[in-house]
């Protein structure tokens, strides 16, 4: 391994790619070359560092200085000042609200300080393409330990003792799943990693795969040893091409180093992993559908039992775990079950990675101990709501979950507490919405999603969600009738009780949960034909506030319907009969004179 005195880590996670980190990276490299530092300083692309909102972000090691919102033009100064003279470029540091002193090192920033990173221990701070860096941070030591010092049963017992539960949604105890599969009759057995990450708005698994692929591979091999399997599959969604690429690189490196393949560490244990790429079907995240898809079939779920532990891939006993679940395994093996069990709440051990998105200041990835309150996650780490708006709710569990309103923000988050609130932990997506989001519309959005993604195999899901969607469409377009709410509730119960798989069984959740906390919004749409959030277009009336209007005429010029009239320098008016509610005028007015009521 070459020795460099400094490493410049450039985040190349999806968020930073979309804020043009590649241009920053090439500018840094060019300047490093120009200053003749190429032999001393190495530029490395990492997975998501977490604070995506501040992208493009860069960290410089060994000092751990964190620069944010970089432009290619900033590269010259970073190289000439920081890398050459050792002077931190303060104007590029992150300024924390209410903090007079600028913090230079990333681990002193509130955003990082409040986190406990186990699954994300390496993500964003190592080169994901280098197995050497993974090894330097204890990588593959856990595999070495189980192969040389532990029996398969001891591995199972350690995982059981740690209290680790599945991070893919349902929270099933991982050790128990391994034990059931180890004991099941049938050969060969398989280890499958669910990297389908279907919840739209969540990107935890993606970040682990792109930022620390070896952690998943190592864990799969450990699982293989524990259950007696020598073959693993990773099922990755096709929307994540970079994750696939990183995994391919990692697999070939691991094979090259003898960490995968035949006779690993000379112990006689064989294990290899193959990648399978999905093709855009949300239902394939459901485990039985996923297994069908690996077999090259339509990804339709089948009834359980038999569970995959008994009859999984090609009818053989199979462990299927989520990416984040696997990423927790090596540290548990190295630090022991008690260590892991000491973190979290009574029934939910360890940490959870959440993807903060939507109307929140610090969008990005955070990992916190189970039991952290929603308020800490959204306001203290997430920095609250942008634009001075008011927090309205947080949606967890994606299309299978529900929303949580403000009065429950102090709830410590774990599997049980979220279920009690009528939602689920899910995979860790947290969508924050503010006063501008209509909860009926949000429920409709999720229902449209499941309606589109329903595989159509059973009618409660296929037809029931369609009926529900029709009703919601009616309500949001001002055609709601008395009795619609009761009808929605009745249909929900029917679907929950009779759908074949988890997709259908949980599809009504977003409707039920918004009805539980925001029933008044449904009622306002139905009875008063009003959308309190001002989001449902059909229920809006555009109106010009005569006190604010300066009569500049811009809105009238832009209105496609010719609905606005008025004399120059006099307040203008909108003819509601002509207005097609396109919203153009509201966007154009420089005086915020146009409002919706």
């Amino acid at each position: 391994m070459e020795m460099y005195r400094s490493h410049v880590l450039v985040c190349a996670g999806a968020g930073c790619i979309s804020s043009a980190c590649k241009a920053v990276q090439s500018a840094l490299q060019e300047n490093i070359d120009q200053y003749g530092l190429a032999k001393e300083v190495k530029v490395v692309e990492t997975g998501c560092m977490g604070p995506c909102d501040l992208g493009p972000v860069v960290m410089i090691f060994p000092d751990g200085v964190f620069y944010r919102k970089l432009k290619p033009e900033d590269a010259a100064e970073i190289v000439s000042e920081h890398l050459l003279k050792g002077k931190v470029v303060t104007r590029l540091l992150h300024r924390q609200p209410g903090d007079p002193d600028q913090v230079t090192s990333f681990d002193q920033l509130d955003f990082f300080k409040r986190q406990t990173r186990i699954a994300l221990r390496n993500t964003g701070i190592i080169n994901p393409e280098s197995v050497e860096e993974y090894i330097a941070r204890d990588g593959y030591r856990a595999l070495g330990k189980v192969l040389s010092q532990m029996t398969p049963q001891q591995v199972v017992d350690t995982i059981k003792g740690s209290g680790l539960r599945g991070r893919g949604g349902a929270g099933f105890p991982t050790g128990l799943k391994w034990e059931l599969t180890a004991r099941a009759a049938g050969n060969p057995k398989y280890v499958v990693c669910n990297a389908d990450e279907g919840d739209p708005g969540a990107f935890m698994d993606r970040s682990i795969l792109e930022g620390d692929p070896h952690s998943v591979l190592e864990a799969m091999a450990i699982c293989g040893y524990a259950i007696g399997s020598s073959k693993g599959y990773i099922y990755v969604r096709a929307e994540y091409p970079l994750a696939v690429e990183r995994l391919e690189t990692a697999i070939s490196k691991a094979r090259e180093y003898g960490l995968m393949g035949e006779n690993i560490f000379g112990t006689g244990f064989n294990f290899d992993v193959e990648i399978r790429v999905g093709a855009g079907a949300f239902v394939c995240g459901e485990e039985t559908a996923l297994l069908a898809s690996i077999e090259g079939k339509r990804g339709e779920p089948r009834p359980k039992p038999p569970f995959p532990a008994q009859e999984g891939l090609w009818g053989k006993p199979t462990v299927i775990n989520n990416v984040e679940t696997f990423a927790n395994i090596p540290p548990i093996i190295l630090n022991g079950a008690e260590w892991f069990a000491s973190i979290g709440t009574e029934k939910s051990k360890g940490t959870k990675v959440f993807a903060l998105a939507g109307k929140v200041n610090n969008t990005g990835l955070v990992e916190v101990p189970m039991g952290t309150t929603l308020r800490e996650i959204i306001f203290e780490i997430g920095g609250g709501i942008p634009g001075g708006k008011k927090f309205k709710a947080v949606q967890t569990g994606g299309p299978s979950g529900g929303c949580i309103p403000e009065e429950y923000l102090d709830t410590p988050v774990d599997y049980e507490s979220l279920t009690k609130l009528g939602t689920i932990m899910g995979s860790g997506g947290m969508i924050i919405v503010d006063e501008d989001t209509c909860m009926v519309d949000l429920a409709k959005f999720f229902l449209e999603f499941v309606q589109e993604e329903s595989c159509g195999k059973c009618s409660p899901c296929r037809i029931g969600t369609k009926r529900m969607l029709e009703i919601l469409n009616r309500i949001t377009s001002g055609q709601g009738r008395e009795g619609d709410i009761e009808l929605l509730e009745e249909l929900s119960r029917g679907i929950k009780d009779s759908a074949l798989c988890g997709l259908g069984q949980t599809a009504p959740n977003p409707v039920l949960s918004t009805l539980r906390y925001f029933r008044h919004e449904y009622e306002a749409h139905i009875r008063d034909k009003k959308c309190p959030a001002g989001a449902c277009r059909d229920l809006l009336t555009y109106y010009i506030n005569p006190e604010l209007c300066r009569g500049c005429g811009l809105c009238a010029k832009e209105c496609p319907a010719g609905a606005i009239t008025g004399d120059k320098k006099k307040p203008h008016v909108i003819d509601a009969a002509k207005c097609v509610k396109c919203g153009t005028c509201e966007q154009k007015c420089k005086f915020n004179a146009i409002i919706t009521v």
Binding site: C52, V277, T363, F446
Partner: protein, 165 residues
């Protein structure tokens, strides 16, 4: 097969030869149908009937099964796409930040519905559910380029980058 669409993607003998090569490399591997279809679509841009027939023959699976798989998965398409592929994310994070307005504007400007291609075959527009860049929503991709925090005012600028062919 009549190709009523005005797109330029055409099935060539080169394509078919490439598909043969792909099929060869997967010979004897169980469950490779989806992976083969991915690779074939990468080469040709879509999955015309001839290709599906060939895949069925070579992998020795019934054509109905190939067709069933192609129609089940939303990323497989039997229609040729535009020279530039626009994807608008309509995942939850992008939705609450206004992805719908973007899509409406795009439909209006390009006169296409999601899933279709413009008259001149230049752009095709599709909706996807989450590209994993949720922190920077709304997200739009054009071919391999990813754009974050897109709003309606930024669309024209982005599309103009694809003016020169």
């Amino acid at each position: 097969m009549s190709n009523s669409c005005s797109c330029h993607a055409q099935l060539t003998p080169d394509h078919l030869a490439e598909v043969d090569r792909i099929l060869e490399s997967y010979r004897g591997q169980p469950g490779s149908l989806i992976q083969v279809l991915h690779k074939a679509q990468n080469v040709i841009g879509y999955l015309p009937r001839e290709v599906q027939v060939k895949v069925a023959e070579k992998l020795d699976v019934p054509l109905t099964r190939v067709y069933g798989v192609v129609s089940f998965y939303s990323l497989f398409t039997t229609k040729p796409k535009g020279r530039h592929k626009i994807h608008v994310c309509a995942g939850t994070a992008c939705y609450v930040r206004g992805a719908n307005q973007l899509l409406n504007k795009l439909e209006e400007d390009l006169q296409v519905k999601p899933g279709d291609t413009t008259e001149d075959g230049k752009f095709s527009v599709d909706v996807v559910r989450c590209l994993g860049a949720c922190g920077l929503g709304p997200v739009v991709t054009v071919d391999d380029d990813v754009y974050g925090r897109v709003h309606t005012g930024k669309l024209a600028d982005i599309l103009s980058k694809y003016d020169k062919e």
